[in-house]
Symmetry: C2
Subunit: 128 residues, 2 copies
Amino acid sequence: MEPIQVAGITFRLDPGKPLYEQIVDQVQGALARGDVKLNERLPSVRELAQLLKVNPNTVMRAYQDLERGGLLMTYRGQGTFITDKPQPVERLKQDLAYRAVAHLVNEMRRLGFSREQALALLQEVKWS
Amino acid sequence: MEPIQVAGITFRLDPGKPLYEQIVDQVQGALARGDVKLNERLPSVRELAQLLKVNPNTVMRAYQDLERGGLLMTYRGQGTFITDKPQPVERLKQDLAYRAVAHLVNEMRRLGFSREQALALLQEVKWS
DNA sequence: TAAAGTGTATTATAGATGTTAATACACATA
DNA sequence: TATGTGTATTAACATCTATAATACACTTTA
């Protein structure tokens, strides 16, 4: 389970969550943080599968999910590339952040906390 | 999928998450919010199963999970009751809140946001 | 032109997990 | 004694994840 670095993306796969989802998550994370260059080429399906010790079908499913989100471009015979447009990446970042905050709001409301209590906890908690 | 009220607890089961987990979540939520009285009797395994249109094994699994957390007491032949001690409930509430905040922190860090950005988002977002 | 490397699709198989079903047993109470 | 509790076991089934094997379409390059 040692991390694997490739094209600015760190892959670490654990059990407990679908592999293809973890691949999607880690590519998205690298994009949101700006760790990858736009238009950069990713490893081929078979190549990444070998690196991650995973079935090619699993990588392909992840790549296809990412392509549907406008984050990847795939060209038959050429390979898979990070999108060259900054908009889908920015949209992704805002989307995921909003979703994460909304999730916290729902959970805190479910538990009977106020917004002020949530803010206080978020200020107190260790960040890095 | 219409909600079912019983003993101060609202049950609503959706597909997409294990049924026994949803039962656990909703009992925990009611406890955290103070919606249920301590020492109160819950529906029997078979009774709740019938109400929720679910297998008795599924309810039993949820009850057992809750008992392991000290939130329920079960007595052979008598029934299942909310704990009579406030401590496990308070501990649960703090635990779940901390976990929820920690989850947000991890996600925001993964996306490259600062604590200040997270706080700003949490202040802006609609609460109720 | 041929070969190698791309993405893509299909089918079969296996394993894990969640859920139901049926049945039985232990215990408490009316 | 009968009924209603919690508890345990076993079997069956559905869904999802992942692998495996194979084939095809397309691009690049030797």
